[in-house]
């Protein structure tokens, strides 16, 4: 019996064997959404499975002139174009068509032409972009079927999805707990079996942390591996789109479709896209795995620590050579991140001014008044907090002390990794110091909330790829194990994570569903 935990290969095989159809898979997801999402509240927008929507997402829609703009961007680079049924022209690395006919969902900060894209913010309420993110266009061209848009912390700022302007999303493992964030909707939708996979975005851990909290796999690719075109910017030098799935193999399949150079993103790397499934051999004998003491500080819960240590022991048993590495500047990563990300955000979010799109405040006397009212009414508290920190860090007289200094420390953090990776092939750590916390537990304490990202943030600062895979339950809640790889070496990274996943036998994790919502105030 197929369901959304079956894995992408099984779904594809079911389609190939005629045991199911794309329409049936889509309907199955919609059924699960109808059954579960009143409690989980992962979806902000549902999309119907109509050919017009799919065509628009492929860049062939009725937005005449501009659709052409979106479509030929890819063709120019000699990129493979996929037929609408998902069959590939010349078998893209063996995984072509792997996603054809299979539903997926998107974090709501990834633009979809003709479909509302809000970043879970009041300031973008009702905003319908004319453009589609390159990653989505590639999924649509591969025959993927979009189910809808997922909840998140407003503009991806947060670690619990409580910062959504609409409503908080709940953790399918315990509806009283947060799913993590900012891609909380994406992690919860996949964990709850409402979508076989989803795309999220990761700026400081926003894919990996909710993946860990919800017991799914979350991959943050190397910076530049996946085009950021169409991803609403939070912190441009840190943001990266990536998949949330039920297995490492599925993450590799999705990455295969969305990776590659994009002429619309000047920071997308001109590197070859390897066959990401190539490394999923199940053999890691001789693989050198680094363990950094800095990731096991006092803040890490005993339960989490125990699970991660068991995982490391298992990896050693499987033939990996485990050794200690040192990442001495890790302790500065949080401060560095909380200067750089807000600084970039303060500039990226300045465009929301009520002039060309989005929310505009009523009754403004003049332009400055309109700007200030619009932004004050349109943004939530956390977004304002970060805009203020970032503006301060960049403002006259403070730039050198804060922003520039943070950029220099960033260099040191990157250097730490470069030196460590001279001796090891991957580094493992907990994804998060704790398991999912209760709703409302940390909303009034920004600094403690920020501590959640202590293990994931250094990776974004350095631009490296990393993946979180489930490594068991602690008191009934999923624990995440993070693997960090070298720049553009997702093949090794995925290979290591795959071996662990298979040997540990956790994936896919199926939550014991609380049967009904308990009426805790939403």
């Amino acid at each position: 019996m197929l369901d959304m935990y079956s894995g992408l290969r099984a779904l594809r095989a079911g389609l190939d064997a005629g045991r199911t159809s794309p329409g049936e898979l889509f309907a199955m997801c919609r059924n699960e959404i109808a059954r579960r999402d009143d409690g989980v509240k992962a979806f902000l927008t549902l999309v119907d499975d109509d050919p017009e929507t799919q065509r628009r997402l492929r860049g062939e829609g009725p937005d005449a002139g501009y659709a052409g703009y979106a479509a030929d961007g890819a063709a120019r680079e000699g990129e493979a174009e996929f037929a609408s049924d998902g069959t590939a022209p010349d078998g893209r690395s063996g995984s072509a068509g792997a996603l054809a006919g299979i539903p997926y969902a998107l974090k709501d900060n990834i633009c979809t032409a003709g479909i509302v894209t809000t970043c879970a913010s009041r300031i973008l309420a009702g905003y319908t972009p004319p453009h589609t993110a390159t990653a989505v266009r590639r999924l649509a061209q591969a025959g993927g079927r979009l189910l809808g848009k997922l909840n998140m912390d407003e503009f991806a700022m947060g670690s619990s999805t409580e910062n959504s302007a609409r409503f908080p999303t709940r953790n399918p493992w315990d509806l009283e707990r947060v799913p993590g964030g900012s891609s909380g909707g994406a992690a919860a939708a996949v964990a709850a079996g409402m979508a076989p996979y989803a795309l999220g975005s990761d700026t400081g851990g926003s894919i990996r942390q909710p993946a860990a909290y919800c017991g799914v796999v979350g991959l943050k690719p190397t910076y530049g591996r996946v085009s950021r075109f169409g991803l609403v910017a939070f912190a441009s030098s840190l943001d990266q789109i990536g998949p949330l799935t039920h297995s490492v193999a599925d993450a590799a399949l999705v990455l295969q479709q969305i990776a590659g150079h994009d002429p619309r993103d000047g920071t997308s790397a001109r590197v070859e896209t390897p066959d990401f499934s190539r490394g999923l051999t199940g053999d890691i004998s001789g693989l050198r795995i680094g363990v950094a003491r800095e990731y096991f500080s006092e803040g890490v819960d005993d339960g989490v620590r125990r699970k991660v240590e068991e995982a490391i022991a298992l990896l050693a048993k499987l033939g990996a050579r485990v050794r200690e590495v040192s990442l001495p500047h890790t302790r500065y990563a949080l401060s560095t991140y909380y200067l750089i990300a807000p600084a970039e955000a303060s500039s990226n979010l300045a465009r929301y001014d009520g002039v060309r799109y989005g929310y505009r405040a009523k009754d403004a006397d003049n332009l400055v008044d309109m700007y200030s009212k619009t932004r004050s009414e349109g943004f939530g508290a956390e977004v304002k907090r970060r805009i203020l920190i970032g503006t301060y860090a960049l403002s006259s007289g403070y730039y050198d002390a804060y922003y520039k200094r943070a950029q220099q420390v960033r260099t040191l953090i990157r250097r730490d990794f470069d030196e460590a990776f001279a001796d090891v092939d991957v580094i493992v750590s907990p994804t998060t110091p704790t398991t999912a916390f209760r709703l409302g537990e940390k909303v009034d304490d920004p600094l403690t909330m920020y501590m959640n990202d202590v293990c994931t943030i250094p990776v974004n600062l350095a631009g490296l790829p990393a993946i979180s895979v489930p490594c068991g339950l602690d008191r009934g809640l999923p624990v995440g194990l993070q693997f960090i790889g070298r720049m553009f070496d997702e093949v090794t990274l995925l290979g290591a994570a795959y071996v662990y996943e298979r040997a540990a036998g956790h994936s896919p994790l199926r939550p014991r569903f609380a049967p009904e919502v308990t009426g805790h105030g939403v």
């Binding site: 300045a350 505009r360 920190i389 403002s395 804060y402 220099q408």
Partner: protein, 96 residues
Amino acid sequence: MHLTEQDVAHVARLARLVLTDEEKHTLAGELDRILQHADELAGLDLAGVSPMSHVGGGETVTRPDEPRPSLAPLTALANAPDADEQQFRVPAVLEG
């Protein structure tokens, strides 16, 4: 260095945000704690360390100078809160 409510007000003005007195008070405290935390960077010896503003690099990225269609006029204004004569309408511009 402590962040005052006046600092918060100044930065809010730069960022085009209006804050209530209560917000100013709360935010001054919160931002001050975050920046106090950031002050740990002040102790590091960073002489000769170049700032990392980009992850990639080493190569100039350009595109060819080839025109493509712009948005259809209706699409360009489709999301505008207020428009007139194929233009975005804004309240009177007063310097300040």
